[in-house]
Symmetry: C2
Subunit: 326 residues, 2 copies
């Protein structure tokens, strides 16, 4: 575990959300359903990363563009949670992400939540520039920077590249866990670490083959690539080799809510920069699994992380003793 | 059609909502769905009634308790729509009602919207009193008062009775279209008109038999009872008789969105107080059907109302020439 104050992480959420959870008896499609319980909080993958960084003993600041009716609630929620933040005021309205969580399985959902994700507000050129400058200003102490989640509608490769490059030029390692075209843009922009899951890798590169997918990202300019594969664990690839530097997985699967596992992985990778890959991946597997045990994303119990770390298997280690951020 | 300014209706929504509509490709339960379009507006059955009253040429004021983050949006939306309103400030947060409208039919919804209704905020004793006093104050010109929709959690029969009686004592006819126990409370409180549909009547009285159900409401104290039955039309019952004073239906069904039909009916009944039942029901059928032709609740095209009025069949009329509000 990292000691308090030792690792600083700036967690950027380009397309944050107000996360609303509706508890219903059953999801009966085509009907009017009574919502039994309503919970709401500041959401977005980078917010989850920031929370887990602090649970792991690091310091984090959440950076996100917010505007509209829900912006005050977003800010108030982070403050109440003790989450330092720099929120960039923008004109467009913060989006909602509504998770409908059934008490009982419906005809078609197997009891799984149905999530309704609004697209989010478009940022103007000025607003994107303000977001970049705000992140750079908060990065004066050269933290690790994570960029997580979807990109707002209208985000161009030029904008995203400007974000990544400005932060790297400020001396920060930049880790990206972005969906859609952003994964390729992150590779091309020279992000220090990108973390696709197998599905994202296949969708972005057009191949289901792990080695070929990693090679494709490396050909674009990717540096470290960590590929996650659910219960099968993760593999880390350093530049110049499609043979993994290290792999790790849990000895047996844990069961629970996997929605925050990827963000927990990002937090662990961020706080462990500079350590050997085997150690980084062990922490990442343990933290990810600990997140699965929590009912909501963005939470881990440090005790679970410690306990699960003993269950991590590292395999086929071709260890690069130091990672490229050194 | 009523002439402008001739009929004034105060439309109360005890449990208003911020109506959000999400357009999705398909409702795939248990998945993360991209919302393609987001629309939002002030909602609640009384708001719909108020809008239709104005479409019919009457004057309406919407009265509702609102608080929390969405209250400013609710107020702004009514203002932008040119809807006069008296909004009562309360501590609890205005609820959302989220309609998920699929472009294509999903595995179980037949293409119909799935609506997620939050329960709404509890009103304190003081807040309920302020709601009653505000309604009475806006009723100085003795408008027809409609009370529509669900009642907030925690509403007691005593509170509801106080509302109905205070307005009747102020000289206003009170029409109620409330769900759940409110229907029986409205009957007991002596509301001048109650408007259940067949399902609501059966649920409240425990019998599917129309005559017995009406008799049960009359036994509690109901005055005029108008029972709606979808395509089958409506029947009006005056106190003291379980034989309908009049019935009316459209010659053939119209197709579209029936969600606002009941509120349109309330508007028509409100603006036609004092006219013979056959005329009232004809306007009500025509307005209801015109509402079905609109994609959203709370809208009617006056031209459609006029045109559909020619298609109304009044049957088995045992006309009480004047209704009891005279």
């Amino acid at each position: 575990m990292t000691g308090p104050g030792q690792v600083r992480v700036l967690c950027l959420t380009p397309n944050p959300a107000w996360d609303v959870t509706y508890g219903v008896d059953r999801l009966d499609p085509g009907e009017a359903l009574r919502v039994r319980s309503v919970a709401a909080r500041a959401g977005g993958k980078g917010v989850n990363v920031a929370r887990v960084v602090r649970a792991l003993g690091g310091d984090s600041v959440a950076v996100a563009p917010v505007g509209g009716l829900l912006a005050p609630a977003f800010a108030a929620d982070l403050e109440a949670a003790g989450q330092p933040a720099s929120l960039v005021p923008v004109a467009g309205a913060l989006r909602q992400a509504v998770a409908v969580v059934p008490e009982h399985a419906g005809p078609d959902d197997g009891g799984h939540p149905t999530v309704l994700n609004e697209p989010g507000a478009v940022l103007s050129e000025e607003e994107w520039g303000l977001l970049v400058r705000t992140a750079v200003a908060r990065a004066a102490d050269r933290p690790v920077v994570t960029i997580s989640g979807s990109l707002p509608p209208g985000t161009t490769q030029a904008r995203f590249t400007d974000l990544v490059r400005s932060l790297r030029e400020a001396g920060c390692p930049v880790h990206a866990d972005v969906s859609g075209p952003g994964l390729l843009w992150a590779a091309e922009a020279g992000a220090d670490l990108i973390k696709p899951n197998r599905a994202e890798l296949a969708e972005a590169t057009g191949t289901h083959d792990l080695t070929q997918g990693v090679a494709a990202l490396q050909a674009l300019g990717a540096r470290d690539v960590v590929v996650t594969d659910g219960e099968k664990g993760l593999a880390a690839f350093a530049p110049g080799s499609t043979a993994p530097a290290a792999r790790a997985r849990l000895d047996a699967p844990v069961h629970g809510n996997p929605t925050g596992a990827g963000d927990a992985a990002m937090a662990a990778l961020a706080v462990s920069v500079g350590r050997p890959w085997a150690e980084r991946l062990a922490l990442t597997v343990a933290t990810s699994a600990a997140a699965v045990l929590q009912p909501v994303a963005g939470e881990v119990d440090p005790e679970d992380v410690r306990r699960l770390a003993d269950r991590v298997l590292t395999e086929n280690v071709n260890d690069t003793p130091r990672t490229t951020e050194d």
